[in-house]
């Protein structure tokens, strides 16, 4: 017993190093698997608060371009609204019955240079934001909500190697998985599109609506180039995003109110 205690005292620095190093490695491994990281995230009072106050200042610099984006979207929505007035029925305006519920938020920390990028937004549990809600902008998709605290939430960006989102071609219904190879923040990869599909450069890629996170028909990007994979059964397609992921400010969070029903049905 004496010897064991002596050994521990003699090597206490090495043992401490080993302990702390393995704790860090544990956190790292957890952060590489989807939805597993538990303790270390920026959606807490301290880091969220600091980023929020820093963003209050830096938001002024992009005010003009963000205002322009928002007024562009207003213009588009207004033209949709007034041009379809005659054929629209009353019950379409009832938002309680709609399967998708939208709320807006602001990005207070964006990152795109790492391999697993996380975005921080200024809405949380108090605004009834929960895990697995989708996040989009006016131009395209951004990611999926991961961790939430009272006033903040982290979003797994599509520029994250653990993210995989169901997407499809607009002109046919062939669907595949949207992933990222960590090389270019403007280009993501669409895999598992079968060889039989008719793919050409410049085609539009949209969300498929199969995952019950995103509704169908949200625009993602255009096909930049494509090739067959090693087994020559599926296409590997490079998609240029409509969204500029390096310049995000106003985002929309989508809640699928029918999602519990879908998951219940699938689990039965």
């Amino acid at each position: 017993m004496q010897q064991i205690i002596n050994f521990i005292i003699r090597n206490k620095n090495f043992l401490l190093f080993l302990l702390l190093f393995s704790i860090s490695i544990l956190f790292t491994v957890q952060s590489h698997s989807y939805h597993k990281s538990k303790f270390i995230n920026s959606a807490n009072f301290l880091t969220g608060g600091i980023y929020n106050s820093a963003n209050n200042i830096s938001a002024y610099f992009s005010l003009k371009s963000q205002n322009k984006l928002l007024s562009e979207e207003n213009k588009r929505l207004k033209s949709l609204l007034y041009n379809s007035k005659s054929i629209m029925k009353k019950e379409h305006l009832d938002s309680l019955n709609a399967p998708y519920h939208f709320s807006n938020a602001q990005v207070i920390r964006n990152s795109y240079s790492a391999t697993d990028n996380i975005i921080l937004i200024n809405k949380g549990e108090n605004d009834s934001i929960k895990q697995d809600f989708g996040v989009i902008t006016t131009q395209g998709i951004v990611g999926i909500v991961d961790k939430t605290s009272g006033h903040f939430a982290t979003v797994i960006s599509i520029l994250n190697t653990t993210s995989s989102i169901s997407a499809q071609l607009k002109k046919t219904n062939h669907f595949g998985t949207l992933e990222w190879d960590a090389k270019n923040p403007a280009i993501v990869q669409l895999t598992d599109i079968p060889k039989i599909a008719n793919v050409s450069v410049g085609d539009t890629i949209i969300t498929s609506g199969r995952s019950s996170i995103f509704p169908k028909d949200i625009k993602i990007g255009l096909i930049e180039n494509y090739k067959l994979d090693a087994a020559e059964n599926y296409y590997e397609i490079n998609v240029r995003l409509f969204n500029d992921m390096t310049n995000l400010e106003h985002v929309y969070i989508i809640e699928n109110t029918k999602k519990p029903e879908v998951t219940n049905l699938l689990n039965e």
């Binding site: 190093f21 956190f27 491994v29 920026s42």
Partner: protein
């Protein structure tokens, strides 16, 4: 002791905040960011207890991880350089370290630079290996390590020159 505590806590807070709010938003050429917060580990007083150095380095790494949402990669890299620090001190300062006379404000700049370079490269190799976490992408790991190291070494040297107390 009191002075030691206040100086190092001030360094801790200032370096973490600057890292999170400024240096991590540089994104030079899309992905190159400097990590000069490791100056905290590098210039932690030599005479202090080794256990305290390792614990303090773990803490600064963990807080940085929290800000950057990066799991535990900064904590792992910081704990590692804190543990191997005595070897590096011996390598770059030689006999001065053996006799425990060393004070970072009084050593010449050449050996200080060697010390920073070795420390930064070790830190960045561990950081990016853990961040990318795949042997298939070893080229990407080496590329990121190389460019970020150059950036960090440059910035760290500049910060060291500006804040050294008795310039010769």
């Amino acid at each position: 002791m009191n002075n030691f505590l206040s100086v190092n806590s001030a360094r801790f807070i200032v370096l973490v905040l600057i890292q999170a709010l400024l240096f991590n938003n540089i994104n030079f050429l899309g992905y190159i960011n400097p990590y000069p917060y490791i100056l905290f580990v590098a210039f932690f007083p030599v005479k202090s207890n080794r256990t305290i150095i390792i614990l303090a380095s773990f803490l600064i790494g963990l807080i940085t991880d929290m800000f950057l949402d990066s799991g535990g990669i900064h904590a792992a890299a910081c704990v590692f350089i804190a543990y191997v620090r005595p070897v590096l001190l011996k390598f770059s300062f030689g006999t001065m370290y053996e006799h425990h006379h060393i004070k970072f404000s009084s050593v010449d700049f050449g050996s200080k630079l060697t010390y920073i370079i070795v420390l930064v490269i070790l830190h960045h190799i561990i950081l990016f290996s853990l961040e990318i976490f795949s042997l298939m992408k070893i080229i990407l790991i080496l590329k990121k390590t190389l460019f970020s190291s150059i950036f960090t070494i440059l910035l760290s040297s500049i910060i060291t020159i500006i804040f050294s107390r008795n310039p010769k």
